[in-house]
């Protein structure tokens, strides 16, 4: 049981990253539009995030440095500032989208008004951040988000052609822009920068040291693989329900309908509980990530492990980012569209986030005997090349395919 509780950081980082509002709709769209042929992109993304999450956790355990301290140290001051600004824009847009998503989910239950429930979501999230310990937040939002396993069960119950599913895990080159749009999107979803910001800072919050290498490995491998499994379940189930009906999902409601098709009202409720906590987890991931990044870049004292009232700058920035997210979503912008804008802002952030992790992980002077071995080094540089490619391809494919439509 203690072992299970120790992987909560990986679970919340992965579920919040893989199955935030944009990814839930995107995975459903992938299944509905191109079917299971794009499944192979999920393990490619999982391996990439496992490599970098494990590396960033190891750096924290050895050097006690989270991601943005590495950015500040390794980049010139101007590039460091540019990385900070781009990352804050990205995380704030995503935070706003997640808050909006929470409003939509709650409104499906109670039918009052989305804006009212966005306010309720803001208050609940702020209370959770203030009153719960870091470990409590991880466990509540991470493990209740696992209600999304209903999609894995739905994928099995809907009895797809398992030969087709198996073939979907074999990479193949196809010519259509739509196909590549979903491949790039599925890989990029796994590598969203805020997952790493939250994971590395969370490792500092949990005071990892060299004795926690096994915990780090378990968190990164099990947590992110679980995220990938849920994403695959959602994609396969959507391919079974939505694709034959010619439905292209554009909201969380459509994704929930997939679970209802398999398990009726129970499936619908489980899907909503899972979405509520996964999107809630993503809201907390992004709010903390923005505040962590700013504090680490400015050299402030930060973290939930201290009393929030003892760190006024960190606490005020955390509250400020939550209010900013709330203000953005109150403009009436569609949360799913917001996540699409966030993709544009992730262009410069993706490579700039991952490069310092790789540089420090390869630096024997910092890492000592925990320096990257040949496998981690090779995988790290390979994935860094892939990330640069994604950063260029994502917006081009987004426009060329009219957002996958």
């Amino acid at each position: 049981m203690r072992g299970i509780l120790k992987i909560a950081l990986g679970v919340i980082a992965a579920i919040g990253g893989y199955l935030d509002i944009g990814d839930i709709v995107f995975n459903s769209q992938a299944g509905a539009v191109v079917g299971t042929s794009v499944l192979w992109a999920i393990p490619v993304g999982v391996l990439g995030i496992v490599v970098f999450a494990e590396m960033s956790g190891r750096i924290v355990a050895v050097a006690k440095k989270p991601n943005f301290e590495l950015v500040r140290e390794r980049y010139s001051s101007r590039l460091s500032l540019a990385t900070l600004i781009a990352s804050l824009v990205l995380t704030c847009l995503t935070l706003a989208a997640e808050l909006g998503g929470l409003g939509f989910v709650l409104n499906y239950f109670f039918d009052v008004s989305v804006n009212f429930f966005v306010l309720v979501a803001l208050l609940v999230v702020a209370s959770a951040i203030y009153f719960l310990p870091f470990g409590g937040i991880e466990r509540i939002f991470g493990y209740l988000g696992l209600a999304l396993l209903v999609y894995v069960a739905a994928a099995i119950k809907l009895d797809p052609s398992w030969a087709d599913v198996g073939r979907g895990f074999v990479p193949k080159a196809q010519s259509g822009a739509i196909y590549w749009y979903f491949i790039v999107g599925l890989i990029a979803a796994a590598l969203m920068p805020y997952e790493i910001y939250f994971y590395s800072s969370g490792a500092v919050e949990e005071r990892w040291d060299e004795g926690d290498m096994a915990v780090n490995r378990a968190n990164s491998i099990i947590g992110f693989s679980l995220g990938g499994l849920l994403a695959a379940g959602l994609l396969i189930a959507s391919a079974q329900v939505l694709r034959p009906a010619g439905i292209t999902p554009d909201s969380l409601g459509t994704s929930a309908l997939v679970a209802q098709s398999a398990f009726g009202e129970t499936g619908l409720l489980l899907a909503f509980v899972g979405i509520l906590f996964a999107v809630g987890g993503a809201t907390i991931d992004t709010a903390f990530s923005a505040a962590y990044n700013l504090a680490q870049h400015q050299g402030w004292r930060w973290g939930k492990r201290f009393k929030l009232l003892d760190e006024p700058r960190f606490t005020l920035s955390l509250a400020g980012f939550l209010l900013l997210g709330f203000a953005i979503v109150q403009t009436g912008v569609d949360p799913v569209e917001l996540t699409e804008y966030a993709v544009i802002f992730s262009i410069p952030v993706l490579p700039l986030t991952y490069l310092p992790i790789l540089l420090v992980g390869n630096d024997r002077a910092v890492m000592g005997r925990y320096v990257n071995g040949p496998l981690a080094r090779t995988l790290g540089w390979t994935y860094f090349g892939l990330i640069c490619l994604l950063a260029i391809a994502a917006p081009i494919l987004f426009v060329a395919t009219n957002g996958g439509s």
Partner: protein, 154 residues
């Protein structure tokens, strides 16, 4: 080992070059394809959205008929789908088109009206099984019509 020993080489340290390149790519791509008469493929995409909404509405109504759903969810989702359809109808009405595309566009606007009405019925009485059965059949037929109209534009 590169000579810059773990720091970025000077040529790529400037953030301005990265930002300018990214902004130019995005701006150029976003400006492509703006303005002019509605093309058949654009109409096809729009009709595809209408068909998707009708089909989802039908699935939603099926849940009511089979008593496998939650009333508030049906009402809220039917309302959202109705709004999507009305928005699509407004875009179609506002767009200029010529020849066969103009005729197809008028049919699409009419189709949108029928879908919107059926979704409205579902939204008004989300627990009424008889109404839901009617809505399911109507929306399925409308989704088929949308599918045929979209195929004509391909």
């Amino acid at each position: 080992m590169p000579r810059w020993r773990g720091r970025l080489p000077p040529a790529v340290r400037s953030p301005s070059s990265l930002v300018v390149i990214a902004a130019l790519i995005v701006l150029t791509l976003l400006l492509c394809g703006c303005g002019g008469n509605m093309r058949a493929d654009e109409l096809g995409r729009s009709v595809g959205s209408l068909g998707s909404a009708a089909s989802e509405g039908s699935l939603l109504a099926q849940g009511v008929v089979q008593d496998r759903t939650k009333t508030t969810f049906v009402r809220v989702r039917a309302r959202e789908l109705g709004e999507t359809v009305e928005h699509e109808a407004e875009k179609l009405s506002d767009a200029s088109a010529q020849g066969a595309v103009a005729l197809a566009k008028d049919r699409a606007v009419e189709l949108a009206g029928s879908i919107s009405q059926a979704l409205g019925d579902l939204q008004t009485a989300p627990a009424d099984v008889a109404e839901a059965r009617r809505a399911e059949r109507t929306l399925r037929a409308l989704a088929d019509r949308a599918s045929r109209l979209a195929a004509e534009q391909a």
